[in-house]
Symmetry: C2
Subunit: 154 residues, 2 copies
Amino acid sequence: MPRPRTTFHELTVGQVADRSGVAISALHFYERQGLIRSTRTASNQRRYSRDTLRRVAFIRASQNVGISLAVIREALDQLPSERTPTREDWARLSMAWRTELDARIAQLQALRNDLTDCIGCGCLSMRVCHLTNPRDVLGREGPGARRLPPARPA
Amino acid sequence: MPRPRTTFHELTVGQVADRSGVAISALHFYERQGLIRSTRTASNQRRYSRDTLRRVAFIRASQNVGISLAVIREALDQLPSERTPTREDWARLSMAWRTELDARIAQLQALRNDLTDCIGCGCLSMRVCHLTNPRDVLGREGPGARRLPPARPA
DNA sequence: GCTTGACCTCAACAGAGGTTGAGGCCAGAG
DNA sequence: CTCTGGCCTCAACCTCTGTTGAGGTCAAGC
């Protein structure tokens, strides 16, 4: 079996796929979207540095809680592009991301509390505006094709 | 301006749209997907009962935290179909939904803590398996066309 | 009795997030 | 030297969550 050669610090796309549990096609997709990067060998194969595993874990974990790839990319863009991120780099990212996560946690807890307290208690007054889209804290988010660009060149 | 007549307990689609902040087209879509229901007037216009506002608020709030419409529909299916849901009905739904929300809250907090504790402290060992897809607790979730039906009739 | 605005249906398209498949390259084992 | 497994690209397709537009109905108001 001709497994591609790698140095210790480089991973093939297959290795990253195996270790991260993400399909190769998804890794290619993430790369096209600028979420991860690779170098190429002489024969044009991708090689990933080990911190890619962390990036992919970060991506999937964030996606799992409903954050879009665009927002995730913005966060990852804070990491240095042409150097392996250090602990400080990730710590800085963490601080920024905490805000996003805290907002979402608060939103989830509000939903849960409104369901149990408000509806559960009998008043049935789930506070609509409060829950459905507090865009002051989360900004525009959520799936769908609702947001068109303001004007498109014809 | 010929606003449609409604009784006190009935709302037109435009009224639901205005009060919920959800586009009419989205309400039609939710109805096609079985998330909300309506009766029709003699002239085929939709009329919604007031609890539809609650359903829509529930849908949007849940969507906002990354839950898919399919999962939301399953939850809403627990409400009685041919009677206005009572406090007890919503309370029952709340209890079930809490589980879903609690799991997501835990997941978010784990992500946050791993980011701040684990990466922030220097060990940099974001626990991949633990974070990316604990399918024992959340089941299969997340966007994309990854899951094809096992076999489709030709 | 016409106009107007809210509503209807149905089909087509949009954007996000991928998967699948065809066709081809490259390197190591036999 | 050939075979094979892993990798490559590119285009097509898929699901999910809606939006847009064309064409039509109905009822209130002037």
